[in-house]
Symmetry: C2
Subunit: 461 residues, 2 copies
């Protein structure tokens, strides 16, 4: 069991690897979940890996290689004769096989194809032709079908006959001779039903499905909403083209979440979806520079505002000292408000129609925040600036009061901007997450400076 004696099992495995006792190792590996087998294999040198793989059946090899990461798959492909590799390839999961096929360059693809049987060849070419961002791009064809005029017993018999071990048979799809999808039933219902029951009596005809060119994120959300093990994917003729499984949906949701967080920090998401270590320094740089450079250029605006008040600051240097404090507070509360609203939108807790409720709520939260932060600012100024030179006509008290009022107003306006910006972006058809934190910081910098100097000029000059 995984949580029990894992340490001991690992030690035994390590020992067998060191002693190069491949046969004994495979005996143990064969009893382990595939994910763990892959973890053991990925630490081996390629020649050893190939030797160990050879002790598994071709079907098992297909399972295992399906779970390799793309780099390992390509490495294996390069080391094996195309004929031997094709035998593994045929037994790989259809979706992962197509993903791997897309990784190969044109020449390698053409080298592999002649070794495949017609069915596999057509399947690979079809699956790898879909856009990876769509349902078609993540679906597999490892599903089981039955006909509506069968009985439950006949259906179970057909599933048993057809299903190699790869297939997902917990949902069984009802199709006609043209592969048009008419409904689905679960293996559970088939088993619980009287053997003579007609499939038409237990089939679900009103159910969630996806279309091949639908966005994969929408499809993943549908799997989540209906708590499905898998969702059927149809093409434009209404034919069953594939299924997307719950674990694929989870992967998509994780990837989209990373994208959201990156967008939110002004990082342009990767098209390849590579891991951190796999992404090159230059790619990392490219992903980040776009936003920070744009914001630096937009910063010219705040620079111009600051310059307009250059004289005011020369006359009252204390104004220059507290300018960053006001800007920072605005940035912090604005980003907080944006985060909360973006996440609530992403999880469907609120929609655009709720915008009045959201802004009214944020306004009340902002007033409370501004009160507390204003008091802290007032105390800070008195504490820090008690020996700063202040022109005779002012008291430090009065100046501290003015700056704190400006800060409080800035907290309110920044919170409202932070909450409103994602709503606005969504209203205009964009992804709310691009109302990113750096964008909000830059924006509230500008409003903050206007509020700050506006109040200063009003009160002190």
């Amino acid at each position: 069991m995984v949580t029990v004696d894992t340490g001991q099992k690992n030690m035994v495995i390590e020992g067998l690897v060191m002693a190069r006792e491949w046969e004994a190792l495979v005996t143990i590996l064969k009893k382990m979940p595939v994910v763990e087998v892959v973890e053991v294999l990925k630490d081996l040198d390629m020649p050893d890996l190939i030797e160990v793989l050879g002790h598994f059946t071709e079907e098992e090899q297909g399972y295992i290689v399906s779970d390799f990461d793309p780099e390992m798959q390509v490495g294996l492909y390069e080391q094996l004769a195309p004929r031997r590799f094709s035998r593994i390839f045929i037994h790989m999961a259809s979706d992962l096989r197509a993903d791997f096929f897309q990784e190969l360059d044109r020449e390698d693809q053409l080298k592999l194809l002649p070794y495949l049987d017609k069915k596999t060849r057509e399947n690979v070419i079809r699956l790898s032709s879909y856009n990876p961002e769509t349902a078609g791009g993540i679906m597999s064809t490892d599903f089981a079908t039955i006909m509506g005029d069968m009985t439950a017993a006949q259906a179970i018999e057909k599933v048993r006959r057809d299903a190699p071990s790869r297939k997902m048979i917990y949902y069984v799809y009802v199709v006609d001779d043209d592969m048009k999808l008419h409904g689905f039933t679960t293996l559970k219902d088939l088993i619980m039903a009287d053997p003579d029951t007609s499939i038409w009596d237990i089939v679900f005809k009103d159910f969630a499905l996806a279309e091949v060119d639908e966005d994969r994120e929408t499809v993943a959300a549908r799997i989540e909403k209906y708590d499905l093990v898998a969702i059927p994917v149809i093409n434009k003729y209404g034919q069953l083209a594939g299924i997307v499984r719950h674990d694929d949906a989870l992967e998509v949701i994780q990837a989209e979440q990373t994208e959201d967080m990156e967008k939110f920090m002004g990082i342009v998401p990767d098209e390849d979806g590579l891991d951190y270590p796999e992404t090159s320094v230059v790619s990392h740089f490219r992903k980040r520079i776009t936003w920070v450079a744009s914001l630096a250029i937009i910063g010219v605006l705040s620079g111009m505002i600051i310059h307009r008040y250059e004289e005011a600051m020369s006359a009252l240097i204390i104004l220059a000292l507290y300018m960053p404090m006001v800007a920072d507070s605005g940035g912090n509360v604005g980003s907080q408000a944006a985060t909360v609203v973006i996440r609530a939108l992403a999880l469907g807790q609120v929609t655009l129609r709720n915008w009045m409720m959201i802004l009214w709520k944020e306004a009340r939260i902002a007033i409370m925040l501004s009160f507390v932060l204003g008091i802290i600012a007032f105390g800070k100024i008195l504490f820090l600036s008690w020996e700063t030179d202040v022109p005779e006509q002012f008291s430090l008290f009065f100046i501290a009061f003015g700056i704190s009022v400006a800060l409080s107003l800035q907290v309110i306006s920044a919170t409202l901007i932070g909450a409103a910006l994602p709503l606005l972006v969504k209203r205009l058809g964009g992804d709310p997450a691009v109302a990113a934190s750096p964008a909000i910081t830059t924006m509230v910098d500008i409003t903050g400076l206007l509020i700050y100097f506006g109040i200063a000029v009003m009160l002190f000059f």
Copy 2:
């Protein structure tokens, strides 16, 4: 089908609701997925809702009410006689039933218990006793068990006999007379196997499992890693206590992601995990004020640094003008680096052992960023300050050069701090996400001011 004619179906349903044709409505609802039935019901007034529910079987009512949100469940409970409610309650999903039971106050709990049969009563009390943050807190008891000495045919027969429609039977657990868990097999393997095969020949004995008091996030990650439909949960005696399903895991992963994003923005996550609209203004305020107020207080440090250079700024007012620009650039690149590292840690793409690789990579990225941002800053200063008064001994060119160098150094140090802080927090046993963006902004503000004025004093005074 969901994607086809949804509009038409909705219109029919709306018409039937308006005409209060409850029986006809239920005929249609009975063919729809439960999630969609709930969506229709939640728009009804409570008396209508109760009438419509009455047209379903008690078992179906249990299904439907399981999918209600907590508020609706409590509302229904308050309107129904305990006896009628208990009939629905008995048929609810065991995990959701226990969650609802925890929502009730002590008095209502005691009022409901006498109407339950002994088995349900014990089940509810046991399931609601676990900490909601653990595997026990999210598991259900709707699983199917068999004995190891059965044949495949006997096992299928037992599953058929035992399984009310609630149960997850795609994985079947092998237990002994004391409910100790010895392995599991899949319904698929049972069906594919020869009917006379002994269960011991097809059982998995080396498999992923969870313990009742394990953190729910760890358990969800395990379900994800092994692509499981469900994971068995054992108690300290090794007995099968429940299962956590793939859809529960997905929910946990979503909730944890929200928490991460909130922490990252300096928002204290909610214990209740309430939706945005359900959280009160005061709770929202409390979740946000902690960090921003702490940071405002820590900001005294940057205030003190700024004050130390008050004279420098009075002498060279241009220094005051560009202070915010340097701080902002540092905050942006620091937050970006932190986001990328936190996410890579969360997804298991990197571990603490990779810290040297990470920092070396970030250092190279930082140098590229500093170069571009330095050049933009240089251009900005020349453009904005061409008519600013500069003391005679300096050229604007030289000052722009000095400030740009300071900004470049700040970009490098902020990137490294942003990348290092989450690693450090994780090393100290904390959640890397608390190395939150506001914390990093405040921290790099301090280093930025030191770099900025350090270079200014060196070059200009």
